[in-house]
């Protein structure tokens, strides 16, 4: 965790109305997680308790308190993708990925007519089957 970078992020958003979520997003983007040091610094800068900042961080699925070193593939597991076979595909993908790639559930990417769908970073992939998804997992 780079303290200068953290200060810059906090300073960039500090004057906005309701700055906490934008700060948490940028911290997570920069450092891969929002750890205890970051929580302490953010709490101090925003005049909040560490418990309050931790409470917000832990509430949202997007934020992690420890970094994830492995590549992550988010596979949609919501109803529209279920109707197109995502549950069977998810089981297959988890076997395929083993411990090397994290297959995370996501509930809807808004591509509900062309599922099963996945997101890697901000890249979207639709109409997945074992062949296509397997290639994505292998390339990670």
């Amino acid at each position: 965790m780079n303290a200068d970078e953290l200060d810059r992020i906090i300073a960039r958003h500090g004057k906005r109305e309701g700055p906490l979520l934008p700060i948490l997003h940028d911290v997570q983007d920069a450092f891969g997680c929002v750890d205890e040091d970051a929580i302490r610094a953010i709490a101090q800068a925003l005049n909040l308790s560490r418990a309050e900042v931790y409470g917000v961080t832990s509430f949202y699925h997007d934020f992690r308190t420890v970094p994830e070193p492995r590549p992550v593939l988010k596979l949609c597991r919501a109803e529209a993708c279920q109707a197109r076979g995502s549950e069977r595909l998810a089981k297959w993908a988890m076997d395929k990925a083993r411990d090397r790639v994290v297959i995370e559930p996501v509930y809807c990417l808004g591509l509900c007519s062309v599922g099963p769908n996945a997101m890697i970073g901000t890249d979207l992939h639709a109409r997945l089957d074992e062949q296509k998804l397997g290639a994505l997992i292998e390339a990670l």
């Binding site: 925003l46 917000v56 919501a78 109707a83 996501v106 809807c108 591509l111 639709a126």
Partner: protein, 510 residues
């Protein structure tokens, strides 16, 4: 040759960029324009060349389409093909026949629609201000600028426009409350936390026609005296976030002094609930607030706040530009205007279908949607997202209308229609509804926080065949508690998919 290719996230996910690159290579003289999506998702990536549509395209089809298209148009130069390229006899009419859908604007999926909110879909470059202006953009805002706040609110009320997020509350009444509320600061908040599975209209609108949302918010500002707006977009929509941010920058001077800021959600479904969203904007846990006070009285940072869905705000420019009667003329009963319906799941012709209220579920699924993509019979249709009821074929005569769906223990919600074929196990779907509620519950009220987990466990026992009748009675009782004892729609509406699965598909629970 002018080649239109969508840069909507769904088209990108289906490989539109690779198709665009292949065209740029094969026809360097052609003009490649990235436009919004027509919403015919089964045809994406859809390419439009001089009005004729081809899809779904892959990069390997590109050469053949260029050759055939230029031969059909009788102008080999039209292809703008590489200087050394001759018309290649390998390619023939079959390629065109396989991929051509004729004139896109004449396609039955398009001609059957009434596109008011999505009038520009497929036709304009999303961030191009000239395209927006040339297609009637800012006309509603200019009309509003010449009106008093009371007149604007009256126009929105007269249009009959109801909140498109799901609750269907009349937009004009909400605006009137904020207009009359006392406060030095007021806010317009756009709820773009479109988390319902089976819905994508907000995303398509933000990516395809972002200025119409900005215009709608600016009008809401004029109507209520708010100077600041927030658009809360879910983090699962990175392309929408980028487009809206760019559109805000480009149109800043046009909507000034009204100012808009984008805020990004963080993966919490419950933040689509308006009070939870307001807490999230304030930088808090996305917990639901008890109402009253209404957000219109005490909303964001305790100030009077209009909070509307993307589609509600995006419908407003039409109302102001063309007059409230023009909007109210469409629809049925107390559901006026048009609804962008989203056809999703296991459906042959999935996509965006904007139509006046009143179309039946059966017409949507069987005729417009063409039945399932798998080709197997349709068994169940979930309408209105994860909190919506599952409808069997027997209820396919239900017209798309807020009251008609409510009368059949369902809801239209945000207009998502998710089709399942006969392979669906409705007990598993009921269990998933409870599980989803457990994952996404904000934890504030007990029926939702605990009821969802206990509900999933109980349905598991039913699936395992343990004391089936007694456990079904327990689930029904639990659903009653969740319905009447939860603070918001997450706990309160989770019973809809559960009970509808139980009542309409009892054979799956034996």
């Amino acid at each position: 040759m002018r080649i239109l290719i969508s840069d909507d996230a769904l088209a990108l996910a289906c490989g539109a960029d690779a198709v665009a690159e292949a065209f740029a290579y094969a026809a360097p003289n052609a003009e490649i324009v990235r436009v919004s999506s027509w919403g015919m998702h089964w045809l994406e990536p859809l390419v439009e060349i001089d009005g004729i549509g081809y899809g779904p395209m892959t990069p390997t089809d590109v050469e053949a389409i260029i050759q055939c298209h230029s031969r059909e148009s009788g102008n080999p130069d039209d292809a703008g093909a590489r200087s050394d390229a001759q018309l290649d006899p390998r390619f023939h009419g079959d390629d065109i026949e396989r991929l051509s859908i004729g004139r896109i604007a004449d396609h039955p999926f398009i001609t059957a629609q009434t596109r008011l909110t999505f009038a520009r879909a497929g036709r304009t470059r999303p961030l191009d201000l000239a395209d927006y202006e040339a297609t009637g953009g800012w006309k509603g805002l200019r009309a509003a600028q010449a009106m008093t706040p009371v007149q604007i609110v009256e126009a929105v009320t007269a249009s009959g426009l109801r909140g498109r997020g799901g609750a269907g509350f009349p937009a004009g009444i909400k605006w009137k409350t904020v207009l009359e509320a006392q406060g030095t600061r007021k806010y317009i908040v756009c709820n773009a936390d479109e988390g319902d599975s089976g819905t994508f209209a907000d995303r398509m609108l933000m990516e395809g026609d972002p200025y119409v949302l900005i215009e709608g918010m600016a009008i809401a500002g004029l109507a209520t005296g708010a100077r600041k707006g927030f658009i809360y977009i879910r983090s699962e929509y990175p392309h929408a976030i980028t487009k809206i941010q760019a559109a805000i920058e480009r149109s800043r001077a046009i909507v000034a002094p009204f100012d808009i800021e984008v805020r990004v959600g963080a993966g919490a479904y419950v933040c689509g609930e308006e009070t939870s969203l307001l807490n999230s904007l304030e930088g808090k846990r996305g917990e639901v607030r008890a109402k009253p006070p209404l957000p219109a009285h005490k909303g964001l940072f305790g100030c009077p706040t209009v909070i509307n869905n993307v589609l509600t705000l995006a419908a407003v420019p039409f109302v102001l530009a063309e007059g409230p009667e023009a909007y109210a003329n469409y629809g049925m009963g107390r559901s006026r205007g048009t609804m962008p319906i989203q056809l999703a799941g296991n459906i042959k012709h999935g996509g965006l279908f904007e139509t006046a209220f009143g179309v039946t579920l059966g017409e949507l699924v069987d005729e417009i949607g063409g039945g399932t993509e798998s080709g197997r019979p349709v068994r169940a249709v979930q309408v209105g997202g994860p909190l919506g009821a599952y409808f069997p074929r027997a209820l396919f005569d239900t017209p798309f209308d807020y009251e008609a769906f409510a009368a059949r223990d369902g809801l239209i919600g945000h207009g998502g229609v998710v089709v399942f074929d006969e392979s669906v196990d409705m007990a598993r779907q009921a269990k998933f509804a409870m599980e989803f509620c457990a994952i996404e519950s904000c934890g504030k009220c007990t029926p939702c926080r605990l009821g969802s987990t206990r509900g999933a466990e109980t349905i598991d026992r039913i699936i395992a065949g343990e004391h089936v009748a007694a456990n079904i009675a327990l689930v029904e009782d639990l659903c009653e508690t969740m319905k009447s004892g939860s603070l918001c729609a997450l706990g309160g509406f989770t019973p809809y998919p559960v009970l509808s699965a139980l009542h309409h598909f009892p054979e799956d629970f034996r």
